[in-house]
Amino acid sequence: MNWKKFRTGFLLFLAVAGPGIITANVDNDAGGILTYSQAGAQYGYALLWTMIPTTIALIVVQEMCARMGAVTGKGLSDLIREEYGLRITFVMMFLLVVCNFGNVVCEFAGVAESLQLFDVSKYASVPVVAVFVWAMVVKGNYKTVEKLFLLASFFYITYIIAGVMAHPDWRLTMVRLVTTPPKSDFVGNEYIQTYVYDVIGVVGTTIAPWMQFYLQSSIVEKGVGPKQYKASRLDVIVGCIFTDVVAVFIIVACAATLYVNGIRDIKSASDAALALKPLAGQWAFILFSFGLLNASVFAASILPLSTAYTVCEGLGFESGVDKKFSEAPFFYWLYTGLIVAGALVVLIPNFPLIKVILFSQVLNGILLPFILIFMLMLINKHDLMGEHVNTKMFNLVAWTTVVVMNVLTLVLVYSYIRPKQ
């Protein structure tokens, strides 16, 4: 490829970059970080083999959303409404609001936790962050907000640095990334059940229902058409790979320190940060905690906004931050309500936070199969996608991914609600 061609290509990439990178990164939110930390502390390097298949699954699913957005110029909830009617859309939107509310609560809990590490009371940190998040979107415009989001995506690099500071075994990391897990993980493993659930947990945290809606809408908002689509696909792929690289570093940071020193029981992401302190040093602790704060604030900004957009699009309410409060009341009330209620729940003393989080995870899991199947049906509609429908080969990969993801997700849901021995 010659220089000029490369340069034009690169400029085009910069022009459409954003939605893919942002969506994939938000996926590493407070909940994601906890899952990866647990995986590293509990199993050391042993779960790294899940990362490459997970990345592929993520790319396959996200690419379809990006393609649908670019070709139709419509959001996913728009398409579901137009093709499958009001009732299905309504039920889906209702479930999405409930489970995204749970996610918002998680993010504010992450804010509280990470700032408590620096001795900031949650009664100060959570309200301040809630107001900041609300004002940023309502008072800012799409372009500046997107730049802030991209900056937040960049800050995930703190996890990579923290990972390096933990001095992991690089050779073992590489080997465990590319080889299939040894037989002994499954055969004769007396904790096989927990092991399987933990594997599924790591895979299942990767693809969430809201991401599909958010990615497709922001592709549309960005004005990406079929012509710019190739650059947009690169955006999605780069985003997914970066996200999972960050995940790998979180796992190895915990593997090289907590696992090696026998600290297996991690209840929250801040536990992991605290445990890192004596083992990897003050800086690793600060980077890890800052990463958690960044991730939580980032996701807390995007989730309520994405929910409000998705629901309004699907149900036909006026939406958009460029509209006034009086022009799009439902949009703004939903957005504000999610933030206010999400922040308040975290501040209520003795609130059964864990139950809310679990409940939203279960709902996430129930909703996801439906969304993935709708996506596959939509993207194969010729009147909608024209020449951009899935190829046979891609359909094979996509259906396999979706079936595997759905089975794993349902098992995960079962693991949450199964009676504890």
Partner: protein, 418 residues
């Protein structure tokens, strides 16, 4: 007898024979647009023998809610459905789709369709009355089949009506070949203010957007494209058009905006469009394309009214009457000497208050504010603020009038920065 029924009540309602046995269920209401654009010409009915087409006869409202269709012919005699590309299928093409509310000037989604039913003896006449975009239709459809019909009816009566008479609806349909057509009952789109049209276009999906844009007349299209704020959207709309149509639109645009637009297109499209343009307009735009976007020259338009130094008010008014440029450029008449050297400027208001034979020279502004072609944005914006200008002449090194900058352009420029 006349009554209002909802499309959602009609869909799924039973077709019964003389004995009350159910022979099929309504799946779709079809309008043959050539016959009558508002009258339902038939139902697609799902029977045990597959999909059949029935005329809309003997439709009855069942007491307590719901609709029933009586048909005494045995299903074997029902006609096979005929597919015509011009037919409008209400469930497929209208329900849940985005439409343009021409009166409300925005894009809305259809929740239900209100039909007016008149039955005289065996003949039923069903016409589209209004399109429901509010809570009534939504609640009716959400609860259908879950709650008794009567209850739904009473509940729905309590909700606010939000509906659009069908003649104010512009529907956009994408057919399987991905050709999009705009189905317009009455063409009112061109009466909507271009700024509102731009908002409407931004709310639509790409195929629909292009279809709507294509139907606008050139003048409206030109003004609308100037009102669209996202350059990427402008470009994709222009590139979706045939080059000669695009050229006609660009000719109607303010040369300054036209140059900015063409500069953003990829070179293949901009060259093609320029080639299709009339020579005079093309040269103007090409000249502007050479300038740096961030200087006075990049912001100026070459549309302005200029008269010679010996002109009278009558000459100015004559020039004004022949003038074809935008309204934002007519506030001031410029007086130019030999070689188009700028001599002075006369506000239109002064001309309006004078007798026709009065010479222009004494009416000229005492101080002539100008800027150079390479003036920076910040500098000429400051002039607008300081001297309360509505337009500012731009002169070249030799004092020749090159173009003018208008206040609306400066406002747009400043808004882009915040």
């Amino acid at each position: 007898m006349e009554s209002i029924i909802a499309l959602s009540e009609l869909l799924g309602s039973p077709v019964v024979d003389a004995n009350g046995g159910i022979r099929g269920r309504v799946r779709e209401a079809v309008i043959n647009r050539q016959e009558d654009p508002q009258r339902i010409s038939g139902f697609l009915v799902k029977s045990r023998r597959g999909m059949r087409m029935l005329p809309p006869s003997r439709v009855h409202v069942v007491p307590g809610g719901g609709v029933m269709i009586r048909n005494d012919h045995p299903p074997e005699e029902w006609a096979e459905p005929v597919n015509s590309a011009d037919d409008l299928h209400l469930d497929r093409d209208l329900l849940d789709q985005q439409i343009i509310d021409v009166n409300g000037r925005k894009v809305v989604r259809v929740n239900d369709v209100d039909l007016k039913l008149e039955t005289v003896g065996n003949i039923s006449n069903i016409r589209i009355n209004e399109v429901d975009v509010g809570p009534r239709g939504a609640v009716r459809r959400l609860l259908k089949g879950l709650v008794p019909r009567g209850t739904i009816r009473t509940l729905v009566e309590k909700l606010a009506i939000k509906s659009i008479p069908f003649e104010f609806v512009n529907m956009i349909e994408v057919d399987p070949a991905r050709r999009v057509r705009l189905k317009i009952q009455h063409d009112r789109l061109n009466d909507i203010h271009p700024a509102e049209l731009a908002d409407i276009l931004e709310d639509l999906g790409s195929a629909q957007r292009e279809a709507v844009f294509e139907t606008l007349d050139e003048e409206t299209a030109a003004e609308t494209i100037e009102e669209i704020e996202d350059p990427k959207l402008q470009q994709s709309l222009m590139e979706s058009l045939e080059h000669d149509h695009a050229a006609d639109i660009v000719e109607e645009m303010d040369p300054d905006a036209a140059a900015d637009l063409l500069a953003g297109l990829d070179s293949y499209h901009s060259v093609q469009i320029l080639e299709e343009m009339e020579q005079a307009e093309r040269e103007e735009v090409q000249e502007l394309l050479e300038f740096d976007k961030n200087t006075a020259a990049g912001h100026m338009t070459t549309d302005y009214i200029a008269v010679p130094p010996d002109a009278t008010c009558r000459t100015a008014i004559d020039a004004l009457q022949k003038y074809e440029g935008g309204v934002e450029t007519i506030g001031t008449v410029y007086v130019v000497g030999k070689d188009e050297t700028l001599v002075g400027a006369v506000p239109l208001s002064k001309i309006a208050m004078s007798v026709p034979d009065e010479p222009l020279k004494p009416l000229m502004m005492d101080v002539l504010i100008t800027c150079r072609m390479n003036s920076k944005e910040k500098d000429f914006a400051e002039l607008f603020d300081k001297y309360n200008l509505t337009s500012l002449p731009v002169v070249d090194d030799k004092g020749k009038l090159a173009g003018i900058i208008t206040a609306d352009d400066v406002i747009g420029m400043l808004r882009d920065r915040v």
